[in-house]
Symmetry: C3
């Protein structure tokens, strides 16, 4: 079937409407955190803080900027691997993230930073908003090339909402630890996205098959994304951990896990090719699985060798997933997962949840010290019954809640996105920038078959 | 007319001469700031500083590195969008910035950090030097593709000088606040560059028209520049703000403004295309206007919704500028603005100056607290007559001074650059790397018409 | 001669074996540093530390991330300049660095951080591991395009080992200062790599000559590497310096040196071309020599003008090296140095060692202050006989030790890598991604001569 992909009214109106709503809600609800408010100089004296350095800004800002790069350059460029979809990969990721962070500031603010009728805004909120949007970027990977920017904005609206509710259940009700978001970001984002793409199944997607691959330079652009994700992942997993040793430890564990993951990804990529050649898809994606899988446990006493083992396993599983599972999901389960997010975020996210549960369940005072254990798991006077195994059980429960929220949420949002008036491309025009972008001359002539695919007849 | 573009003597001699002068002046004038001098360990004890952390380095260095990336990768790659001018965009930007930061350390040092016969050098000077060069990078955008590297070095020499004088007038004489440089960097840089390109008007530039556009991959390279500018802009606007809440607040406001700006840029880009398609030029540029326009007010109590409104408006105005104003300026006013800096830096810079004036004029003790207000606007015992509206007037005066300096300075420098012996390219060889660069074989054969454009007859 | 380049068993087994060994050794030896251990909260109280900010993490982490970017994106993309070797440049650099940092944590840990039977791991170890791998990345530049990934892993294994021993001799036995690694990283890495490539001399490399050059976009990718190296070099040279003024000063000196280096590189590049055109190779490489050459002295009282002079000289020498010395080394000494590391790391590294020795030898209490001098050169009560000239002599001795270790080590490792079963490419298949990578269709058809070079007959 052929949809109308001319977005001249739908996209501008959606953007402007959403942005106007944001302005109004920001005006009503958002104020500055005491650490970012001009009254801070008085606050400081009152709280007897000796140095400006103790402003939260200096604890978090460098990590925030690294996370920011991951969301916009990391995810954006990672998805430029398709030969004719680079503008959309970077551009739509930019659009949805720019909207998503605003909506996330509100949603997460209401649930976590609501004081005296106002949401108070500091650097940690910015990081958490970026995190929340990270889960949308993950889901975008599943539907990449097959949806319109209007659909992406709507998906972002709903997914940010559901993310925030799920995060609230996990962190506040179940009191789960998940600093790097193996469960809240990756598991939730991946299975949400997979469910959406399952609902949006396109039986004739083979008609766009010739564009669903990379060209030489598009693979190099994608490596920019991969490397910035890989390098800054220690910041991602440590960005909102407790000050001091927890942030420090989270960065170290992530560094170790990611290093191990590269070697096993390369090993499997070569071993699974009949001539032993490496596949760029694996190097671009599976090498990152180690970062996903230590998300929950990175701030715990996982130990450096524990991190290596996690990375070791995930590099293998993720590469196996690309080779065997993705084709299976597409042919048997009708799940068309463009970027293979199931291998990079889905399975490693679940592993991360499990690793977190096990690590928490085996926490003890010998490893952490009395004070250290209390600090790491926020055990205060009210939690007299806290035990490590209980924490482990709640962690596991958090994983199941995330999966359930993702599946139910993805189902609902998928059905909404299936409505025929969002400007989605026809099956034979997927993975094609020219549908939504003014394209330079060189490509128009190079790819003669599609001067303007929006004008082509439905069946070739 | 045909100029000699062989720079074999002119470019090396210019570079070496300037660099020798820098060495001599650095030797005579530059010393380390107490925080960067080996005597600091004694200084610390004397000043009773309890922690190494209170060294200025730790307050500013992460922001400095972000700003550094913006100047070299951000501006450099943003300008690679032209199909045959990537080497020059990145390379000349690299050259002029490397010279400019040295000269800026001296000029700004004499005016702001001159103590006991010496300029004392610390991390804040490095940031300010990068800022100063930022205004040259802005102006470079107007003349991109039409000038030689010798012209750029000369422009940098003069522009850095004028920038520093203008900055001194604003910050020291008018006591204006302009942490993110809406006025000193963007307004000044843009109108300076526009005046220069007006003087350098090329009536036959249409002869290079076929190269004044992008190709598919050059647009992706440009997006690297866009995103690094966009992501690190919160650091740009907060880098030299007061420690603590001011830095914190400036980052938050910039983050908000930029997010809103993306949505309205996308909205307008789509709405102004007859088929609703997005234009990469808008996504690469207009999305950044929000960062420019909160430059002055970011550290003030602008409020998050205030930032959103600023970004909202600037995304619209900037995109409209690209569609309607740039062609008008070129055809009617003979202002050939290659990158459309009027839309990205000119108008948003003026808006930023106005927003800053209004925000300052409405500052009050309820918003800031007594101490906070005094701290934010440097009101000490000597300023007994300070009022917010007075501050607002001075802010407005600063904007006019910046505009006047830019126009007069641009006029003079433009006339100097118009002299015929700087190695500028002929009208039909503009936007062409091969004039100044040894080019790989692939491009030579691909673009058959210009194996070596420097050898071509003047009229084709 | 034709080797078997099918790595299906060799590469996976090498990776998995090395990674399993890493897991075991990490399990036996690696624990967290007190600043990264959950006991830190108790430690803090015991050591009477007033703020979480005094955790080592906050002093070093931003610099660590910058260094991390240099190793993976900087070196990785710098080497993508070859037209058909981008996947390998980025991918193999990724692989060897991911293995190298693990092995470096162990080797350097045993020699520097071994306490009570365990290596304790903190953020400074991560930086040092990255530094160590930096020297492998340097050596990789010499053999780029001519070795298999298995050879690279073996080279990494040995080079990291030798690096750590050499570093131990310099820093612990000779008590040399070398914060930015002019000697330990650059001199050692470069002459090690040059010796290896000398042993691996390929007489028929001219058969791959047509691929040993760049294409237009590959040069732009390489500029990404160049700029990230250039911008973050101040972090590299200051990352492990003493807290406070030393870090501050090292960053300033490096900033100055690099700026000067750009101007003289451009000057020489233009002057040495018969039409005065610039050569991308020089802009990509020689502009960085200034960072190498202030590696040792950056944290000393080199003075800003001293830094400029160092950068000034190195830009000239490095560019001259590319034009005259590299061809000479190849034709006369049979040293095939793909990236010209002798010009970027070799000569500037030696200059850096000499500059460091001279700067140290001229240190005095007037420049540093009594306490400052003692602090800068770790002069404690046990070192009653310390004199500046003695320090200078030891610095010079360190340079010779590094050179000797590099030559002897390179000789041994070169002989090992010359064994015929590592999967190295034939002389006519060098600089070719298709040997080890699954390549997208576009390149296969574009370069018709090599659909699969591994299948081609040995002699064309």
């Amino acid at each position: 079937m052929a949809w109308n992909t001319n977005l001249r009214w739908r996209l501008p109106l959606t953007c402007l409407l959403l942005q106007v709503i944001m302005v109004i809600l920001f005006g009503v609800f958002l104020r500055y955190d005491p650490d970012a408010d001009a009254h801070w100089i008085e606050e400081r004296l009152g709280r007897n803080i000796s140095s400006d350095m103790d402003n939260e800004f200096y604890y978090r800002y460098p990590s925030f900027q690294d996370v920011h790069v991951m969301i916009f350059v990391g995810f954006g460029f990672l998805m430029t691997f398709l030969q004719r979809y680079g503008f959309s990969a970077v551009g739509f990721n930019f659009l949805l993230a720019a909207f998503g962070i605003q909506w996330a500031l509100l949603m997460q603010g209401w649930l976590h930073s609501f004081h005296g009728g106002y949401i108070v805004l500091g650097v940690e909120n910015l990081i958490n908003a970026d995190f929340c949007v990270g889960s949308v970027c993950v889901a975008f990977g599943a539907v990449l090339g097959k949806v319109s920017p209007v659909q992406l904005l709507i998906m972002t609206l709903f997914q940010v909402t559901l993310f925030s509710v799920n995060e609230f259940i996990l962190l506040n009700l179940l009191e789960v630890k998940d600093a790097g978001g193996s469960m809240t970001i990756h598991t939730f984002g991946a299975y949400f996205g997979l469910t959406v793409t399952w609902i949006l199944y396109r039986p004739n997607l083979y008609q766009s098959k010739e564009r669903q691959s990379s060209v030489y330079h598009s693979d190099l652009f994608a490596m920019i994304g991969t490397l910035f994700l890989w390098m800054y992942w220690p910041s991602f997993n440590s960005a909102v951990s407790d000050h001091g040793d927890a942030q420090h430890r989270a960065a170290i564990n992530t560094y170790c896990s990611l290093a191990a993951c590269v070697l096993t990804s390369v090993a499997l990529s070569s071993a699974l090719h009949k001539k032993g050649k490496l596949d760029m898809v694996h190097i671009q994606n599976a090498t990152l699985a180690g970062g996903v899988a230590v998300g929950t446990a990175a701030e715990m006493m996982l130990m450096p060798y524990g991190s290596l083992i996690v990375g070791f396993i995930c590099g293998i599983i993720s590469t196996l997933g690309f080779v065997y599972l993705t084709p299976f999901l597409e042919s048997r389960l009708r799940i068309q997962d463009t970027c293979g997010i199931h291998n990079l975020h889905g399975m490693p996210g679940i592993i991360g949840g499990i690793v977190g549960a096990v690590t928490a369940a085996s926490a003890n005072t010998q490893q952490y010290g009395q004070k250290g254990l209390a600090h790491a798991f926020d055990i205060d006077a009210t939690k007299t019954t806290w035990t490590a195994s209980m924490q482990g059980s709640f962690q596991a429960a958090g994983l199941f809640v995330s999966l359930a929220m993702a599946l139910v949420g993805g189902l609902i949002v998928g059905v909404i996105l299936k409505l025929p008036f969002w400007g989605q491309p026809a099956d034979e025009n997927c993975f094609e920038d020219a549908v939504y972008w003014e394209i330079p001359e060189d490509q128009k002539s190079l790819v003669s078959r599609s001067e303007d695919p929006t004008l082509r007849p439905t069946e070739p």
